[in-house]
Amino acid sequence: MSEIPAEVTGWIGQKRYPEESEFDVERGYVLTACSSVENGNPLYWDEKVARELTGGWVAPPSMISVWCRPHLYSPGREGEGLALKVHFDLKQKLGLPEAIMSEDELVFHAPVRPGDRVRSYQILRAVSDLKTTKLGRGRFWTIEVFYENQKGELLVEERITGFGYNRPGGEAEPSAVRQGGEAAAQRGEAERSASGRRDAK
């Protein structure tokens, strides 16, 4: 796997997987999200404040991925809804079954408002040469995701750095539990990040 397949290099710079969220941005989820982190910002709870500062209700900017995740079940859909499909394409095409997200940058533009229908697309920006890290041997890649509203206004730019890899030796998971150290935590992070993205759209 020393060479990057031409199909993969051909993806670099391409706008892929344009999608629209399954439902409108709605305030119930905003309140649930605020409740989950005890966010008492009056911008999200006090309509007078929201009218005065933002011309009406808005959603916390960091919630952007919430609006684009598929439901666990959706009638007529076959298989699991995948988020960040470019990431999973890379894992498959490069033969790298494990992955972590090591960095994630969000740049916030127009506010997201209840009633918005969020659209997104993904662009692969770079794939590295083979690297060896303490997790294993693999490649780093950078994917950008652009989120827009139904009017075509840019809401958020997201730039994600992932590392797809093969585990060295493939040691058993329970030993990591007993060690209780960094390896276990990183393995958890790897599974969380990759799987979380699997459920995100």
Partner: protein, 160 residues
């Protein structure tokens, strides 16, 4: 404005520390956070799955919810006029049910851009037992005066 306090950029200095925020993370914290971010994966609600399949000691916070924790921590400090412009996360480890997590922040840079928008760049981290699990560099827009409002900025006046 409903009594909410708003930090203006003139009251922010490089090196300024944000008040610490501590939170005892429970299973409810993790599960509520996962559901609030529509993350249905079992390692965020099923301890058996987390232990047996992931090899970790318990269920743990998911990244989108942790992002919201960071945003809450920052806007607790700024007040509602504080508008997030940019957040960059570096993931190092997980925060598990049963952990006591602590958020800390320090102002790294203060500036006013060409459009007159006030900006504070803050390094934020969440730690467990002194070990940083995720760090974040955030760029927050702050009002330059009591009558300024970063949320009104758009187009050329908003350069996050």
């Amino acid at each position: 404005m409903s009594g909410a306090q708003n930090l203006t950029i003139d009251r922010v200095k490089q090196g300024q520390k944000l008040p610490e925020l501590g939170c005892a993370v429970t299973a409810t914290t993790v599960v509520l956070g996962a559901l609030a971010t529509r993350d249905w994966r079992p390692m965020h609600h099923d301890r058996d799955f987390a232990q047996v399949r992931n090899g970790v000691r318990d269920i743990f916070l998911n990244t989108p919810n942790l992002a919201h924790w960071f945003e809450r921590y920052l806007t607790d400090w700024t007040g509602p006029k504080g508008r997030p412009g940019r957040m960059k996360f570096f993931m190092r480890g997980s925060v598990f049910a049963g952990d006591q997590m602590v958020f800390r922040g320090e102002v790294k840079q203060v500036e006013t851009d060409a459009a007159g928008c006030g900006w504070a760049t803050i390094d934020v981290s969440v730690s467990v037992e002194g070990q940083v699990m995720t760090s974040c560099t955030a760029r927050m827009a702050l009002p330059t005066a009591a009558d300024d409002n970063p949320w009104r900025r758009r187009g050329e006046a908003w350069k996050p």
